[in-house]
């Protein structure tokens, strides 16, 4: 039978060793304990004795190679007549520090028979929870006291129906949401003030807790991943924080289309998106209030224009940031977006590239439908969303006459934070983006 010659662990900290040289060749007959090879480790150099008598069948590791402990170095064909399974090698002893292991063993008395083993009796099952008693943790008790909550109203998701901190946070968030809807309808409370009163304690808010849904056969419960949770939290927070105003522009993209066609002839493939980024960056430079972030109860007008562009990847939505977009040419923007797209697929975008945006653009692509109302990327104050670009008959003025022509049209939605931005500025910004796109000058 074939048996293995392995790299031994000579010392407790040793993890690998180097084969220095072989003292035998393939096909050679060897005696038990005959040195087969020399090895070297961080701690010792040693000759490895043969584990058995036999013929060297294979040598698997060349001199100079480093292999981990227990790696097979060679195989021996043992004498068939004497073939018996090799006894398992005794565990290695650290002779460097402990001396010869047999030394202690020889001195010991014959072993004393062990007393019979007594199996511990199984512990009694825990008493069932008392009916009507609410099981909570200390933090839940504190939160309930702080917010004046009736804990019997909050369904518990912990072990034995325990009400957890997440349950309370979820409950508070849903309550805050309900309150906000009511109060904004009444117009009695400004959103900014609301943020102060409910945001601080309830953060981070979670999805509203409802009683566990009735599950039918085949229903699938998919717990949120940490990424999903972060997205959910961010979306809810943004909606709570900023009163969104959504406005729409209908943009005639025929000049953009002309530039794309010209570029294509030159071998450059441009998508629609870089044009919108370019136009937005130009308009932002002219409308500083749109290129801003909110810090407490102040607005920070950002000097640099860093546009966060949503990219759909296999790993979910990523939002890389295009730095100083207003100083980039159309081709540079296009190249940067291609680069992000490629690297997002391979997961090689660094965290630094995902932060620091001052304005956002989201492009859902060809299946993006007519239009949509985006949610502001906090703490920014504005976001643009591209709608589907479709050819439509439109009425234009030709030499004072109304004419119907076919043009590629796009609904462009802009959301802005009404705490910070008034209608004049918001509308002016979007109008300007439209003007730039329709003028078709992207130099």
């Amino acid at each position: 039978m074939l048996i293995d010659v392995v790299m031994p662990q000579l010392g407790e900290s040793v993890v690998e060793g180097v084969v220095v040289k072989w003292l035998v060749e393939v096909g050679e007959l060897v005696a038990k304990d005959q040195p087969l090879l020399e090895i070297s480790t961080d701690k010792v150099d040693a000759e490895i004795p043969s584990p058995s008598a036999g013929r060297v069948a294979q040598i698997l590791v060349k001199p100079g190679e480093t292999v981990p402990i227990q790696a097979v170095l060679a195989k021996l064909e043992t004498d068939p007549a004497a073939s018996r399974p090799a006894p398992e090698a005794p565990p290695k002893w650290d002779e460097e520090t402990e001396g010869f292991p047999g030394h202690m063993a020889r001195k010991t008395e014959p072993p004393i028979p062990a007393p019979p083993r007594v199996e511990p009796s199984a512990p009694p099952p825990p008493p069932p929870p008392a009916a009507g008693r609410i099981r909570i943790t200390p933090v839940v008790g504190r939160m309930a006291a702080e917010h004046g909550l009736d804990l019997s109203m909050i369904p518990g998701t912990g072990i034995d129906g325990r009400v957890t901190r997440k349950d309370v946070e979820g409950y508070l968030a849903s309550e805050a949401l309900a309150k906000e809807t009511t109060s904004s309808a009444l117009g009695s409370e400004t959103p900014a003030k609301k943020l102060k009163t409910t945001g601080a304690k309830a953060a981070p808010s979670r999805a509203p807790i409802v009683s566990p849904p009735p599950l039918a056969e085949g229903d699938q419960v998919v717990p949120w991943t940490p990424t999903r949770k972060r997205i959910a939290e961010h979306m809810v927070r943004s909606k709570h924080t900023s009163p969104h105003v959504h406005i729409f522009a209908e943009v005639d993209m025929h000049r953009v289309a002309a530039v794309r066609a010209k570029a294509k002839k030159e071998g450059v493939n441009l998508t629609w998106l870089p044009f919108v980024i370019h136009a937005a960056a130009k308009a932002l430079r002219e409308t500083p209030i749109m290129n801003a972030t909110v810090w407490g109860e102040s607005t920070v007008l950002k000097k640099d224009i860093h546009i966060a562009v949503a990219v759909d990847t296999e790993k979910g939505l990523l939002v890389p940031v295009l730095r100083n977009a207003d100083r980039m040419s159309l081709k540079e923007i296009s190249a940067a977006m291609d680069d992000f797209g490629a690297r997002a697929k391979s997961g090689k975008i660094s965290p630094d590239e995902l932060s620091g945006g001052t304005f956002s653009i989201t492009n859902p692509g060809i299946k993006g439908n007519l239009f949509g109302t985006p949610i502001i990327n906090q703490p920014q104050v504005g976001i643009l969303r591209l709608g589907q670009i479709v050819k439509r008959p439109v009425v234009i003025d030709v030499d004072g006459e109304d004419s119907v022509v076919v043009r590629p049209m796009m609904y462009l939605c802009c959301a802005y934070d009404h705490r910070v931005i008034d209608g004049v500025a918001g509308n002016g910004f979007l109008y300007r983006v439209r003007e730039i796109l329709e003028a078709g000058d992207f130099s």
Binding site: E12, K43, V139, G158, I159, P223, K229
Partner: protein, 324 residues
């Protein structure tokens, strides 16, 4: 540069021996042999037999002599060949070194480092696997550190050597050659008394140190889809960085403490008690501990695995706590 944990230790000693003529290394077989684990390989040749000293097998003497040298302004590094043998020098550490400054009313410092290989998982048996750090955390006047990475091993040892108080430095022999790490070529220190936040998370905090840091980090990564774990590597066990511990507990509300030393009387008990006392109202579950079973560290692999914490046990404990 890419170094192993033990090479980081060797470099720390080499650099400090070169930097400060008052630094000495004393221990059994540290000189000609370069240490049983080669932690001091080449140091005697480079720094001389007067400063890298082969000592008789006398742990009490090694520590006691270190105290005498410290009174003279020297900064001896005192190696225990295995940390299991530190018990032979126990009196000199707790009664002589730890009290030196105090019983002299602040007249002197005691800048000694007692270091040596601790820890199991290497089939070392009863006397080559111990984790006796808790004994020393009970002793005022000492500082106790236990690095988990090559970076920390070097930076903490250099800090320990420069510290004016006695520092017990537990290195983990399982990590000696099993981890390799990129560390800066230029000089750096890791401060004593500061924990490292190894991973941020929101659902649950695992507090650990030493070799289990690696198992905990792997568990945290593997479980990322089900639970968002924060990992704190204490690094220094006396004094513990309570500010970092408490900030994390206040954030997550759930705590698991993992250490390779035995459960009863271990560091975990102190950490748990402090959290229960100071963060009670932030807790969203019981403070849990995972440690070695209350038995000696046995030799045979199956028994050793049964006794020591591992990734599987860590994962199970995290699941239990997360569900609470």
């Amino acid at each position: 540069m890419l170094v192993t944990y033990i090479e980081a230790i060797r470099q720390a000693m080499d650099e400090e021996l070169a930097r400060d003529g008052n630094v000495l290394l004393m221990g059994e077989d540290v000189g000609v042999l370069g240490g049983a684990f080669k932690a001091s390989a080449g140091l005697q040749e480079k720094h001389g037999a007067d400063r890298v000293v082969d000592m008789p097998i006398s742990e009490s003497l090694i520590v006691g002599a270190g105290v005498g040298l410290a009174v003279q302004g020297m900064r001896p590094i005192l190696e225990m060949q295995f940390i299991d043998f530190i018990s032979c020098g126990f009196d000199q550490i707790v009664n002589s070194a730890a009290t030196l400054r105090y019983r002299h009313g602040g007249q002197t410092a005691c800048p000694i480092v007692v270091r040596g290989p601790s820890g199991g998982g290497v089939h070392g048996g009863l006397y080559h696997s111990q984790n006796p750090e808790a004994w020393f955390c009970h002793v005022p006047g000492l500082k106790v550190v236990a690095p988990a990475t090559a970076y920390d091993a070097k930076g903490l040892l250099k800090s320990a050597i420069r510290d004016d108080d006695p520092v017990i430095y537990f290195e983990h022999k399982f990590l000696y050659r099993r981890i390799k790490e990129e560390i800066p070529a230029e000089e750096y220190l890791v401060p004593i008394g500061k924990a490292a936040l190894r991973k941020e998370g929101r659902d649950l905090t695992v507090i650990t140190y030493g070799a289990p840091v690696h198992a905990v980090m792997k568990a945290a990564r593997d479980m990322a889809a089900e639970v968002d774990i924060e990992v704190i590597d204490l690094r220094t066990l006396l004094p513990i960085d309570w500010a970092t511990v408490k900030a994390s507990v206040r954030k997550t509300g759930k705590v698991l403490i993992v250490h390779e030393a035995r459960l009863t009387g271990g560091i975990g008990g102190e950490v748990a008690a402090r959290i229960a006392q100071d963060c009670f109202e932030e807790l969203d579950g019981p403070v849990m501990r995972l440690a070695a079973r209350d038995v000696h560290t046995p030799f045979a692999p199956a028994m050793e695995d049964y006794v020591l914490p591992n990734q599987e046990k860590i994962t199970e404990a995290i699941r239990k706590l997360a569900a609470y």
